[in-house]
Symmetry: none
């Protein structure tokens, strides 16, 4: 029990170190030795928990992606109206990107870079289904524009990633007003104009 607990701690420390270092340096500029050092273990220890570097970053990706979607849908349920449901999910996503920006930055880098294996990428995408279901419902009810899910995602969700990055780079600070404005832009880009 004590042993097992300790193991999970080390695994978590490794995942955390991976996120931080990859965020700052990129995948290939992050040596295993630095990850080990930051996690306070020997380089060899990493290989007790992960097969190799690719496996480490893949598993990190999947874990962060799962945390992301879990957070996004935590307060949502399918009985909400489309507009309310979207608002709730959108706000939670915005929250995640701002409050857990380390995690969110990591996902952005993974999603825009050839550093994640294709299988892990697909694995990570699965958890978004509830949002796609919500949109389908909206389309049927004539509330959401009848667009491809990719287009809806591009306009309703993806801009938040961009905003998070520029904020992280210090060029700009997102405050509550901006969030509200962003939400309005998101909603107006996908809702059916009456």
């Amino acid at each position: 029990m004590a042993k097992l607990q300790k193991s999970i701690d080390k695994r978590n420390a490794l995942i955390k170190a991976t996120i931080e270092l990859v965020n700052n340096n990129g995948f290939h500029a992050t040596p295993m030795s630095k990850i080990a050092k930051m996690a306070n273990v020997s380089p060899a220890t990493i290989y007790l928990y992960f097969d190799n570097k690719q496996d480490l970053v893949d598993k990190t990706y999947i874990e962060v992606k799962a945390a992301y979607t879990h957070y996004a849908f935590a307060t949502y349920n399918e009985k909400m109206s489309v507009e309310e449901g979207f608002k709730i999910v959108w706000k939670r996503i915005a929250d995640f990107k701002l409050k857990e920006s380390e995690n969110a930055m990591f996902l952005v880098q993974c999603d825009n870079t050839p550093m994640i294996s294709e299988t892990s990428r697909k694995e990570g995408i699965k958890h978004l289904q509830p949002l796609l279901d919500l949109w389908n419902r909206g389309k049927k009810e004539g509330i959401i524009k009848p667009l491809s899910d990719y287009l809806l995602y591009a306009y309703a969700i993806n801009p938040l990633s961009f905003l998070m990055i520029v904020q992280k780079r210090g060029a700009f600070t997102l405050d509550k007003t901006h969030i509200e404005e962003a939400y309005q832009s998101a909603w107006s880009s996908i809702k059916v104009c009456k």
Copy 2:
């Protein structure tokens, strides 16, 4: 003169090879030796044109970014109405992302990764000024929402990058209808609703 010409060819070949290889493998998984091979020069020759690897990728970034903005504004002039100007620029940007997707992909990877030096990033951003000017005009005329430029960019332009990536990954194909729909979403997210 002949010599100089030859030099420019080599430089161009190096830039091109860098783009292609970084697109497929990422910055740090792209060795100088491969770049040299693809450009049909010796590794040592790279250092006649660029200071080091960072300089090579920085200069590549700036050159591609300049080509991008040049393309974006090629048919625009400041006497156009705000709506017309935006439409023209937006369509040119969409065009660039689809037709010159190698270049566009490269920019996306640079912009979402810590691989470009901060100075080069700033250097690359300057050329977008005409679009910001257009938006300012639109705000004054009450046509564009009075939002931060970052927000406008996030909703009006950035989604195109996302769409280009998913298309590149083969998950989705953008046709003319999608482009038109995307434009409508972009415009409705930043225009003032009357």
Copy 3:
């Protein structure tokens, strides 16, 4: 007693695993962890039975060498005539090399490689004494050529190792006829021609 029994089983399993893995991969390409796995024990357990890797392989060598010589002389006794005695021993050795080829291969690899410590090598050689005694008797009786024991061994015994190896590699299959021919060659190379 039960505990001791269990220990001997583990020790034997370790020796057996060592032989098999070293045969297939060589000494240094055989990690302790694989030996442990094949013997169904923990890597740490090996160190309860052996001081270190060198000790493990040295003790394995001595054990196999002892088994080899024990087998060779099992049906021999010193009252036999020189020719009969040699024939009996030679046939037993041939038998061992063919029937216990795993063990025999292991000895060959040890004897042609710097993997065994010098002391263990000397330790292993001692058990051959009865054969040397037989030869000395033969020399005195004028039946065996008055050659150095090394020469006698080289021609009378060592060829069997070579034949075993080529057979193991699949290039060639030794049948009863071959064995008889080999014996004739062995004997004619050391007996005094009349």
Copy 4:
């Protein structure tokens, strides 16, 4: 020209260092770094001449094997009588094993160990053909026993390897008399007794 010469020198130095170190320590106990040091080059330089460690040792093997057979047949021609031809070749082989014992030891280790790739092993075996041709001639003429080539090799040639090893270990010194005795044993083991 000067460049090319220098390259060949380095390659030769690497081959030589490989032989010496593998002889003393075995394949897997010979790190590339030591080979590099002994050859007075950087570890990275090895990879300009060989693909990897396996390739280095394979190519070394083939080169030494070629030198061995070249030496063996240098003074032989097919018009010699079978007995004379065999004697000449046998003596040359004995010479090689004693005078170029580093090379010969290396071959023995390669041939009794799973360190050489199967393809290289086969490549190395080809050059022995003239000896097999000689034996075939001898069999037809009724001078050589009608045995498998493997048996002939086991008794006529292979004992020399054993003798070389024990001499190298210092247990025994081969002088001219021994060589003559060994030759007689070799010849009597394969010739047809009249």
